[in-house]
């Protein structure tokens, strides 16, 4: 009986001691964790760049007809082979909020028109929801003062029983100047606007066909090439925006030689955008910020073993460590110029050393180091 009570007391004492220890060490160290969680909620992306493939293989693409490319500039990307007229159009995304981007053209008399893709959309829309078809048609017909690069948003209300026919919630029409090949400047502006709007309206998927590319005119002078198109798309992706998943949609009706050109053009630009200084590496989203916060936590934890935590101590350590961390980032960048393979490791190693040895490093005094030693028997 006595032994059991002794054991119970001992257990309580150990638990109490451990709780105190835990409280002492995590009292302030919890702050960086809260900051990190808040950041993850505000910017939910994990990766800035995370390519799933180094190049698209046409045979593989035609087999699967939809390939996950990976994450680029915090946006998830797919390459898909689609046909608006097909019964399986966007079949995998039927329950998501989808945007389809199409092109419109501004005529000399300022009226607007749509090309083959737009006509195909109208046909499909008419089959799915005649009400939306008329609204979309009238909206476009009524536009008179549109600038090149401007985006017109058309919200659709497709009846649920017809959603499988056309599973699109919004159509964004990007306008270009009629009569000349689409310029990359107008495309950049238009895509930037479309991505921005899709992000703000919290759309889940954005389907982007190859605007301005028709295989019949692909050899015309000044025609937009696949390289230019994909390059512009990648440049228009803003990593700070909340991402809709992007579907780069190639037309299933294209002849095979056009698909070969599309894949060659895509691969050439993909190797530029998805590889970091020549190698396909994964980079974390907001890496500089999140890395510093993570090691700030480690630093506070280490310091709690050296000095009892206090608000003043927390502020001194935090300001000191974060300043050192920011400075070290620039230093590592400078020292690893031209050596991308060791850059990331360099950042992590430096922050680790700074966090673990922070109590030692801050005690260093340059004045003390350079102060001349007094000679034996003499005084200054």
């Amino acid at each position: 009986m006595c032994q059991t009570r002794f054991r119970e007391l001992l257990r309580k004492k150990i638990v109490l001691k451990f709780s105190r220890l835990l409280f002492r060490h995590t009292l302030f160290a919890i702050v960086p964790i809260i900051v990190l969680i808040a950041d993850l909620i505000s910017f939910p992306s994990t990766f800035e760049n995370h390519p799933s493939i180094t190049a698209v293989n046409l045979t593989n693409f035609l087999t699967k007809q939809q390939l996950l490319l990976g994450t680029v500039r915090a946006h998830r990307l797919y390459l898909s082979l689609d046909d608006l007229a097909s019964t399986d159009y966007l079949a995998d995304a039927i329950n998501s909020k989808n945007v389809l981007v199409i092109s419109g053209f501004i005529q000399d008399d300022r009226s607007v028109s749509i090309a083959a893709l737009g006509q195909a959309v109208l046909k499909r829309l008419n089959a799915a929801s005649p009400k939306d078809y008329h609204a979309f048609y009238e909206e476009l017909s009524g536009k008179k003062h549109i600038q090149a690069g401007e985006v017109v948003i058309s919200s659709l209300e497709i009846p649920s029983d017809k959603r499988s026919v056309f599973p699109v919630d919004e159509i964004y029409t990007i306008f270009f100047t009629e009569g000349s090949p689409i310029s990359t400047e107008e495309l950049t502006e238009g895509l930037g606007n479309a991505f921005d709007v899709a992000s703000r309206r919290r759309m889940e998927n954005l389907v982007l066909p190859c605007l301005g590319i028709t295989w019949e005119h692909s050899e015309d002078a000044g025609a937009l090439s696949f390289e230019d198109f994909f390059s512009t798309v990648f440049k228009s992706i803003d990593p700070t925006q909340q991402s809709p998943t992007l579907y780069l949609s190639l037309y299933r009706g294209w002849p095979s030689f056009e698909l070969e050109k599309a894949i060659a053009g895509f691969n050439s630009e993909w190797s530029r955008v998805a590889s970091d200084k020549g190698s396909f590496r994964t980079t974390l989203y907001r890496a500089k910020y999140r890395r510093a916060i993570l090691f700030w936590f480690l630093c506070l934890l280490v310091c709690s073993f050296v000095k009892p935590p206090s608000l003043k101590g927390f502020l001194i350590i935090s300001v000191g460590f974060l300043t050192l961390a920011l400075g070290s980032h620039e230093l590592v960048d400078f020292l690893t110029q031209g050596r991308p393979s060791i850059e990331s490791t360099g950042h992590y190693a430096t922050l680790f050393v700074l966090a673990v040895l922070f109590p030692v490093i801050v005690a260093w005094d340059p004045k003390e180091f350079f102060k001349s030693k007094p000679r034996d028997g003499t005084h200054g």
């Binding site: 190049a55 046409l58 045979t59 087999t63 082979l81 097909s86 698909l259 050109k261 894949i263």
Partner: protein
């Protein structure tokens, strides 16, 4: 069981097969010379082939193809079957579904002809054969110069001599039973003579891979001698 069979057949790479048959190996199509493959509705064609595959899975009967007599070097003539475009697409879909694995598992760098195409942006079941032939010639020349002697083995009537039962048994290592059954039905319907039929790249690719069994025998019988095969 029936469901898994349908799923296997549904998952065949039909879109790829359509393009390979119509664009890459169009020489074997019984289509009029004015036919322009550019005007093909690939989505509708895919739907039609899937429908045919489903029918085929339930009632696996292929029609005997039209065939023409092709003269051989010896002066004899051999039948060249010309099946319908849809049956060629179905055959191609079966072959494409396991072609990469077959090539990777069976063939090595010593084989030059009918290798699986791994060029990223090029549509084709196999590598460019002209380049392959040039590489084979260069390699033969290099070996002749280095070793000063060469033993050439020519397999007479190679494709005609293949035992189809052994051939299907060999293929069963690389594909599923429903796909193999479909392939067997199509091949049997196309085979008007012993051996495997001369048809197009899809069958040439399979036949070439099967020749790996000959490579193994040659290697076993000639230890220490380095062999290559066209």
């Amino acid at each position: 069981m029936a469901d898994s069979k349908i799923t296997e057949i549904e998952n065949l790479p039909v879109q790829l097969a359509i393009r390979l048959v119509l664009d890459d190996i169009s020489y074997s199509n019984p289509l009029p010379s004015w036919f322009d493959a550019i005007t093909i509705d690939y989505s509708l064609r895919e739907l039609a082939i899937h429908q045919k595959l489903r029918e085929f899975a339930n009632r696996p009967v292929a029609s005997k193809p039209f065939s023409i007599l092709v003269p051989k070097k010896s002066g004899q003539k051999r039948s060249w079957p010309v099946p319908s475009v849809n049956e060629q697409i179905m055959l191609q879909a079966c072959v494409s579904s396991f072609a990469g694995k077959l090539d990777a598992d069976v063939l090595d760098a010593r084989v030059f002809s009918y290798r699986y195409n791994r060029q990223e942006d090029l549509l084709g079941l196999v590598e460019d054969q002209l380049t392959a032939w040039t590489r084979f010639q260069d390699e033969t020349k290099r070996r002749c110069e280095d070793s000063q002697c060469i033993l050439q083995i020519d397999l007479q009537n190679a494709f005609q001599s293949i035992d189809r039962r052994q051939f299907y048994k060999f293929l069963s290592r690389f594909t599923t039973q429903p796909v193999l059954d479909l392939l067997r039905t199509l091949m049997e319907a196309l085979s008007v003579e012993p051996g495997i039929p001369l048809l197009n790249n899809s069958v040439f690719f399979l036949g070439n891979a099967y020749m790996a069994t000959v490579d193994a025998i040659v290697r076993e019988s000639t230890p220490g001698i380095c062999s290559i095969r066209r």
